[in-house]
């Protein structure tokens, strides 16, 4: 059996009075790509953002249950969220580089941790850009503003930025939905490479993408996980009728 990275137990999440996640129980395995699919508003993003406590930033969120990451409950008050987020990186739907140079974008995280040594930073920048398959594109213009890059490059920069923190997990919330087909393909290839070193969770609206990139797939509906299985099983042999209807496009 593979290692379990996140062990989610009886997770409930409320935005004020509205319950967005309902008694989730799921084990996310390490060094695999897990896809989260489901119709709009079913709680995929919410769940993803619980894994690095990003929901803490939203007013009026209440969470119950447990999420054990490597055996430690990350929902506990004692957890240092800043620490947690360096271990669990995140890539967002819309590429969101900082309005600074490419170099500074990558160096941002390490610098926030107190890394000041120019040599170490140089190294981190280079290795992260290489890991994100972006080094060759940008090595000659590291000091240019990152906003001048194309959308696909920007998104790879955001991945590189996350990698620079040497995280254990990378969360991706519809990372390609703002990109064109060619850029999308590049990101998908990148995910394939990255999964050797990282545990990856990806939210996607595209059945095709889920089936192409993921090892496991969780199907969300109205805040519940209806089905969780290997991607192969989900797509070829869904056990739940709703799952089947969804992936064959009969609704959603």
């Amino acid at each position: 059996m593979e290692d379990i990275k996140f062990e989610v137990k009886h997770l409930n999440l409320y935005y004020g009075d509205f319950q967005a996640l309902k008694d989730l129980n799921i084990n996310i395995k390490a060094n695999r790509v897990t896809a989260l699919i489901g119709p709009s508003g079913c709680g995929k993003s919410t769940f993803l953002r619980t894994l690095n406590r990003m929901n803490d930033l939203v007013d009026g969120v209440k969470i119950t249950g447990e999420i054990n990451m490597d055996g430690k409950n990350i929902l506990s008050d004692k957890i240092n969220t800043i620490d947690l987020r360096t271990k669990v990186g995140m890539v967002f739907q819309k590429p969101n580089p900082f309005p600074m140079s490419i170099y500074d974008n990558i160096a941002y995280g390490p610098r926030c941790q107190g890394v000041k040594d120019k040599k170490i930073l140089d190294e981190i920048v280079e290795s992260s850009l290489k890991a994100a398959a972006l080094w060759d594109d940008v090595k000659d213009r590291l000091n240019k503003n990152a906003l001048g890059m194309s959308g696909g490059q920007q998104q790879r920069l955001c991945i590189a930025r996350a990698i620079a923190m040497k995280p254990e997990v990378i969360l991706m919330d519809e990372p390609t939905s703002a990109l064109d087909p060619i850029a999308t393909q590049k990101i998908e290839e990148l995910i394939d490479i990255l999964k050797k070193d990282y545990t990856i969770l990806i939210v996607t609206h595209s059945m095709q993408q889920a089936s192409r990139v993921s090892d496991d797939t969780a199907f969300f509906l109205l805040g519940e996980i209806v089905e969780f299985d290997s991607t192969l099983n989900i797509f070829s042999n869904p056990k739940n009728k709703k799952t089947e209807e969804y992936i064959t496009g009969r609704f959603g």
């Binding site: 360096t86 995140m90 967002f92 969101n96 941002y108 926030c112 930025r161 923190m165």
Partner: protein, 283 residues
Amino acid sequence: MKKRTIMDGIQYLFIFLASAISIISLVVIIVFVLRKGLSHVSWDFLTNSFSPSDPNSGILPMLVGTLYTVGVTLLIATPISICSALYLHEYAKANKITEVIRFAIDGLASVPSIVYGLFGFSLFVTILQPFTNGYSILSGSLTLSIMILPVLIKTIEETLKTIPNELREASYALGASKVQTIFKVILPTSLNGIISAIILAIGRIVSESAPLLLTAGMVYYMPEGIFSSSRTLTTHLYYLASEGVSDEQRAQAFATATILILVIVALNLIVKLVARRIQKKVG
């Protein structure tokens, strides 16, 4: 169909008329001031000190007084308003306290300037006289800095609003603390906006008169520091317009008004340029 065209036509007519009125009023005022004032503006006028008995004296002390007032006021108001904007946009939860704060800021924004004058006069000039030396640049600036707080806070908050939330989330997701996010991402990104807010505030300070009359006084000497009483360009203009009796003083009044208008136009142009730069950066 016909009727619609006519109705539309009438509306268009009103719209053009109204816009014409707006533009023409501006042009009339500016032409009125510049035509009578420009000829009296000279290098000497800008660099000579003022003397009520000398029709050829200048306005240097008032220029310096204005600079002092602007500088001290901003020194007090800018940090307060940046902090307030940060609090309201980055920290405040939607609760009673925030509501009270917002109400207070809206309230400050609508307090008539004469009431600021009354307040500044009774607190800074009278009660705090040992600290402010009574009528002084300091008293004036303290009064004005309260007065411009709402403008500054609101415009800076508007800038903060234009920073997409994704940038904040990106920073937190990289393990940055809130303070790091504010100082490394939010403030640098909003720098241009903060600058144009400050320039707008300068405009307010430069054009204010009633509160300054009651707090900074009317001494026309070159100010020696923040404890000196001093006239700004605007209070000087008020003095010339209301106490000036001779033709020479009239001419000086128009010349001072000309300088004020030029300063105002320049400040507005700068704001526009900065705003354009922001747009380029965002767009």
